[in-house]
């Protein structure tokens, strides 16, 4: 047997199996406990918890999309929120069109905000969104195209490091300003809201929520498997190589910009899907999703969970958002920013590799094995 016949890394490593297992359990149990138990039962999961957890799952998918490009390619995008929001808007536009005559003005064509701005006709870019398949395509296409155009320019010109980070931030900031404008035809600051139903199902019914929750879990699971598949392929190895030594990759004959571009577009589409699942569950999409602070927060989730671990990104998103939910209620409410800020500082100082990364290190130390074929441990290098 040839010595090169070493076992390739498994598609789903142990931690991934645990992650998918928990996810599957949650995906089934939460809707079940919500729908099938009486509200008084000890194990009942109230509807608001379902939509809350659903929101966390979409955030986890969003974090995953960031980890794909930040953890594995070293692209620190401070504009990932833009792709999330675009996916959300695509879904929101579909949901708006579904309202039909049930808006307060009862206009069959125009959403309410257009009626009271005295608009007479539906703008051209709203056409087609009454069809669900079209909306689904746009959920992928809108963020994907933006990422393609932006990435094509930026990667070809070899904009890297903080320069790239700052122009991604400028991108989402420009979109924020644009979507704030009422003249754009996306509802201005109020955004899109007051949705009625999705594919004919009442968007507020427990059943729909349960299904949306399940779909979010499914999307997260599939997103994880897709990311794993990508990073362990030859393509993924090139990505990691780009992260560590981009010049070397170029001198080895790979077009680094194309690899980055593919990863960036895939990541944007994942973010778009997350946005599309987010909107029907929280019931509103508005320009504040484009705000640069939101995008920075996504980075924070990933860093807390552990950059370059995928599972960590998802975990970080859920943990930070759970902390946010927890801290913003009750007697802690006035102090929650202290807690959150303190958490970020503490994580950087004491868990520099994030929760999952630190866990790996700890495990490595306990059970030393020179063969590190399982999960390539990232050595996050300074961007600049």
């Amino acid at each position: 047997m040839s010595p090169s016949d070493t076992r390739p890394p498994t598609l789903i490593p142990t931690n991934g199996l645990v992650f998918l297992g928990v996810l599957a359990a949650v995906a089934v149990l939460v809707p079940l406990l919500n729908l099938a138990t009486s509200p008084d039962a000890a194990v009942h999961v109230p509807t608001y918890v379902v939509s809350l957890l659903g929101k966390y799952l979409t955030y986890a998918l969003l974090a995953l999309s960031v980890d794909l490009i930040w953890g594995y390619v070293g692209i620190l995008s401070l504009g990932q929120g833009a792709f999330f929001a675009l996916g959300g808007y695509a879904m929101g536009m579909y949901l708006m069109r579904q309202i039909g005559t049930r808006g307060v003005y009862g206009d069959p064509m125009l959403p309410d905000f257009m009626v009271f701005l005295n608009w007479k006709e539906l703008p051209w870019f709203w056409y087609g969104f009454d069809l669900f398949p079209f909306a689904l395509v746009m959920v992928l296409l809108a963020p994907g195209l933006l990422a393609l155009v932006f990435g094509w320019f930026a990667f070809r010109s070899r904009v890297t490091g903080v320069y790239l980070s700052i122009i991604t931030q400028a991108m989402t900031f420009a979109l924020l300003l644009a979507f704030f404008r009422n003249d754009m035809g996306f509802g201005g600051n109020n955004g899109l809201t007051d949705f009625k139903d999705i594919l004919g199902f009442n968007i507020q019914s427990d059943g729909t929520r349960a299904v949306l929750f399940f779909l979010s879990a499914l999307a997260l699971g599939l997103g994880y498997v897709l990311c794993r598949f990508l990073v362990r392929s030859h393509f993924g190895k090139v990505l990691i190589a780009i992260r560590d030594a981009e010049t070397r990759v170029r001198f080895t004959g790979y077009r680094a910009e194309n690899y980055k571009l593919v990863a960036f577009v895939v990541s944007a589409m994942l973010a778009g899907i997350a946005g599309a699942l987010y909107v029907p569950q929280v019931g509103i999409i508005n320009p504040s999703e484009f705000s640069p602070a939101n995008s920075i927060e996504i980075i924070v989730w990933v860093a807390v969970g552990g950059r370059g671990t995928l599972v960590g990104a998802a975990l970080g998103a859920v943990l930070v958002n759970y902390a946010k939910t927890y801290f913003t209620s009750g007697f802690l409410a006035p102090y929650w920013l202290f807690m959150l800020g303190g958490l970020f500082v503490a994580v950087t100082l004491f868990l520099p590799k994030g929760i999952v990364g630190t866990f790996y290190d700890w495990r490595e130390k306990r059970r030393p094995s020179p063969d590190a074929l399982g999960e390539p441990l990232p050595e996050p290098k300074p961007a600049e």
């Binding site: 090169s4 030859h234 560590d244």
Partner: protein, 269 residues
């Protein structure tokens, strides 16, 4: 016959080393000048490399050795001058690093640069000649031929038992060899090797010289930049000394080290 074929080989100022014509040379540099903020890193540099030739380049710091490699590999664009590859068929100044690498010019950096969070094996896999486009590589599977070729390279660079370790975990010398191995895996027609024995023990240095000679014997052209005179002597090839961005002297090591100017600016008395 094209017009370029009839061009006389340019004669470098103050130096009468024989030059191949454009069509004969694998690599052809003529009058290459590079300036950074007023500093002339390369000053009308001209030389050629033959197919199958191994050449050692020496010279003091700042002589322009690394910049020369940057120009050949497309990292730096010359302000003036011609850089042709493969008998004048390809103008390297019009291409970028990736295209040049694909043409068959491999480069080893001064500071050993391997993919530190990949295993040694994956480092070779990535370097191995083959599909370079992004999308097909998502679904690429490793062929038996590729596996054999990698095993061969492992034999050559003597890292077989380290194949499972991370690139970043190797010693300095091992990284140098891995990088040479990666160059081999690319199967280039011309290897540019920048200070391959820096930081190596004497034994390792000798082994490296042997390795490079073997590579050259296999039909690869090699350009080695090195300060280590023992190593250069071990290589036993034609030597060229750069100074202030142009060729100061060229010939056998003995000829070059006897050159007054070389002694003055580089070797010291």
């Amino acid at each position: 016959m094209t017009a370029t074929d009839t061009l006389d080989p340019p004669v470098a100022a103050g130096e009468g080393a024989a030059k191949k014509t454009l069509t004969e040379a694998l690599l052809y540099l003529d009058g290459v000048t590079v300036t950074f903020d007023g500093f002339r890193a390369l000053n009308a540099l001209s030389f050629t490399i033959d197919p199958g030739e191994m050449r050692a380049i020496i010279g003091p710091n700042g002589a322009g050795k690394t910049t020369m490699m940057d120009v050949i590999t497309g990292k730096t664009r010359p302000d003036k001058g011609d850089v042709f590859f493969d008998g004048g068929t390809t103008d390297l100044t019009k291409l970028d690093e990736t295209q040049i690498a694909t043409l068959g010019i491999g480069r080893k950096f001064q500071k050993p640069t391997v993919f530190e969070s990949h295993t040694v094996l994956d480092n070779l896999r990535l370097a191995l000649k083959g599909q370079r486009r992004a999308l097909p590589n998502i679904f690429r599977r490793e062929t038996a031929a590729a596996r054999e070729r990698i095993d061969e390279i492992f034999e050559t660079i003597k890292l077989t038992e380290h194949r499972g370790r991370l690139g970043g975990a190797l010693s300095h010398g091992q990284k140098q060899w891995l990088e040479i191995g990666m160059l081999l895996a690319q199967d280039p027609r011309l290897l540019l090797v920048d200070e391959p024995v820096a930081g190596m023990t004497d034994a390792e240095t000798a082994q490296t010289a042997e390795l490079l000679r073997a590579i050259n014997a296999n039909g690869h052209s090699v350009v080695v930049v090195e300060h280590d005179m023992t190593f250069v002597r071990d290589l036993g090839v034609r030597v060229m000394c750069l100074h202030e961005g142009s060729v100061l002297a060229e010939g056998t090591l003995d000829q070059v080290s006897a050159n007054e100017r070389v002694i003055e600016v580089y070797l010291g008395r």
